[in-house]
Symmetry: C2
Subunit: 355 residues, 2 copies
């Protein structure tokens, strides 16, 4: 396992920089009809409030491409146009002021059309993300591997698309390789990172509905990030995009690649537990959700690991027999009854977050 | 990243073998009072139905130790007694017929007491798991690293405990090293696996309540498993232990380390989507939950990645404009209206699962 992050070149997406050691950016994608400007802007504002740093909109038609200008004027985070096949839509999007194009040059058609997209990207100073996906791999690459998607085939597709852009002297590139198979995705990013210096956008495509999709994404993105790879990530869930952002941050927090907000360590409870750890943890999590400072809060129900974990966290509760000790930076600061535990913990968290 | 699994020696826990290339076993722990035999047995039966392969009960007192005999007689999966400090409870548990003891010899007290536990384990032919935990690390090890828990300190504690057992000619050992810090846990298992040949029980301790705890567990256990380590796992969640088992299997399925049941690949939906992918995916997942055969089902809402993914899965739906194509093993078998999609998909899944 690498302990240092893979070095990539820096790419600017609006005011945000990804790659080259920048913090890993969390992004999402709207699920509204892009041509419905009001609904799309509303969803982007929800995403911004959740901490989303880059937002992407699908551009399936000209009306969607034309709507991007108005959307861009009403939002505060970089906007990416997600385009398939259509050079004209990409040019309209660039003129609309989007901060990045997602388009695979190999799918656009003639070289003239590719040139028009690259010219528009150069003129407006915006990068292009090449997004290779297991569901839309080129037929000739599929054929070469017996009709099956492979990690090598995905990388071959990425390199082919990169070559098209580089031959046109365009280097402002971000790359993603997404497969529904998680081991294949991990292997593909590992292979790709050895061959290119462009920043990597990572994701597990079509991960599913939140309950299972967040677990699949955490396994896949966690393994890729733990190997030192990834400059920006998107969690793909069939559901509210705000949940994609929340899961993205949880993955980064788990690997200590970002620190923001409260992290609650709570014991699974067992036959030794005397206090209602689950309801205390749920209530504390809900009541401290708006706090942005990174604080580790331990909520423990017994004497075995309780005092140790409680003392190791910024703020801790070790409960038992209806009583609890509240720890702050390793020292016991209060002893409280079970009914007061939530209030006492929230008090301590808030006072520590303010200072 | 390793592509082969780390070699460990085989250890038998009742009729189940872990280590040495055996399938990775999913375990959990009861959250009832162990002395309440009826409640504990009821929870173990729920865990068995969810696919739990090993169950552990806390033994905080003599009444709990004495209850194990009755519990063991009423359940069908191997039973582990979780003991801290108390040699007498361990001996009672061994006599009660449990299939494994979890106890740290370094915490038991005198050498005589340790010998009594080892003698009981030998007599009954059961293994001992040494469970090092960041919340209960030995004071002298903490002191040596400036009062902080470190990966090296956790490994030192494990090796010290292993040495105590090996000096008494006891080798039937399983080891776990759990820390609340995920990078530290990953580093500790990596370090430990280079030094011992005993099977590894893996887990992220006190991961939290299900929404975030399952993500933290998936990141941590995913990275450890992806590095080729881990012979049995437990997901620790503050909540229903059945959810621990479900999350455990989802993690193994994500890494293709086990295959059982339906895996739904569903697109995150975007401005291109014309069908209600989320509600279709949720309903199909619910209606096919009891199917044990491994089948990959793709539910896709557009023409970009839809047909490719749908054709690549065992069964797929690619929808758009209120109509959907149903794929089976890569071939279109039916065209259906949106209102018929769920029924048609479930039909196809059931007929494929039966054959």
């Amino acid at each position: 396992m690498l302990t240092t992050r893979n070095k990539t070149r820096k790419v600017k997406i609006g005011k945000l920089t990804i790659g080259g050691g920048s913090p890993i950016a969390v992004q999402s994608m709207t699920k509204t009809k892009t041509a419905d400007v009001a609904a799309t802007v509303r969803q982007i504002h929800e995403l911004e409030a959740a901490g989303c740093q880059i937002v992407r909109c699908a551009v399936p038609d000209k009306a969607s491409a034309l709507a991007l200008k108005e959307i861009k004027q009403q939002i505060n985070i970089p906007l990416v146009a997600d385009i398939h096949f259509n050079a004209e839509h990409a040019v309209i999007a660039a003129e609309a002021g989007v901060d990045k194009l997602r388009i695979n040059p190999g799918n656009i058609g003639s070289l003239e059309k590719v040139k028009s997209v690259v010219a528009a990207a150069k003129e407006h100073g915006i990068p292009i993300r090449i997004g290779v996906n297991s569901g839309s791999l080129e037929k000739e690459i599929l054929k070469a591997s017996g009709g099956h998607v492979t990690a090598e085939g995905l990388v071959k597709s990425a390199l082919k698309n990169i070559e098209i852009l580089e031959k046109l002297d365009f280097n402002d590139i971000v790359i993603s390789i997404k497969a529904t198979s998680i081991p294949m995705t991990i292997a593909a990013y590992d292979l790709l990172a050895r061959k290119v210096y462009h920043p990597l956008h990572i994701g597990i495509t079509e991960a599913g509905i939140p309950g299972t999709g967040s677990i699949r994404s955490a396994v896949g993105l966690g393994a890729i990030l733990n190997a030192g790879l990834g400059d920006t990530l998107r969690v793909s869930l069939t559901g509210d995009p705000v949940e994609e952002v929340r899961v993205g941050y949880e993955i980064l927090k788990a690997l200590e690649l970002t620190f923001h907000g409260i992290t609650i360590i709570s014991c699974p409870t067992c036959g030794r537990t005397d206090i209602d750890v689950a309801s205390i943890a749920r209530e504390v999590e809900t009541r401290t959700r708006r706090i942005k400072q990174p604080l580790k809060v331990a909520i423990m129900g017994c004497e075995v690991n309780g005092p140790g974990e409680a003392a190791d966290a910024d703020i801790g509760l070790a409960g038992g027999n209806g009583m609890g000790l509240i720890f702050r930076e390793g020292k016991v600061v209060r002893q409280v009854e079970e009914t007061e535990m939530v209030d006492a913990l929230v008090d301590e968290i808030e006072s520590m977050a303010i200072k």
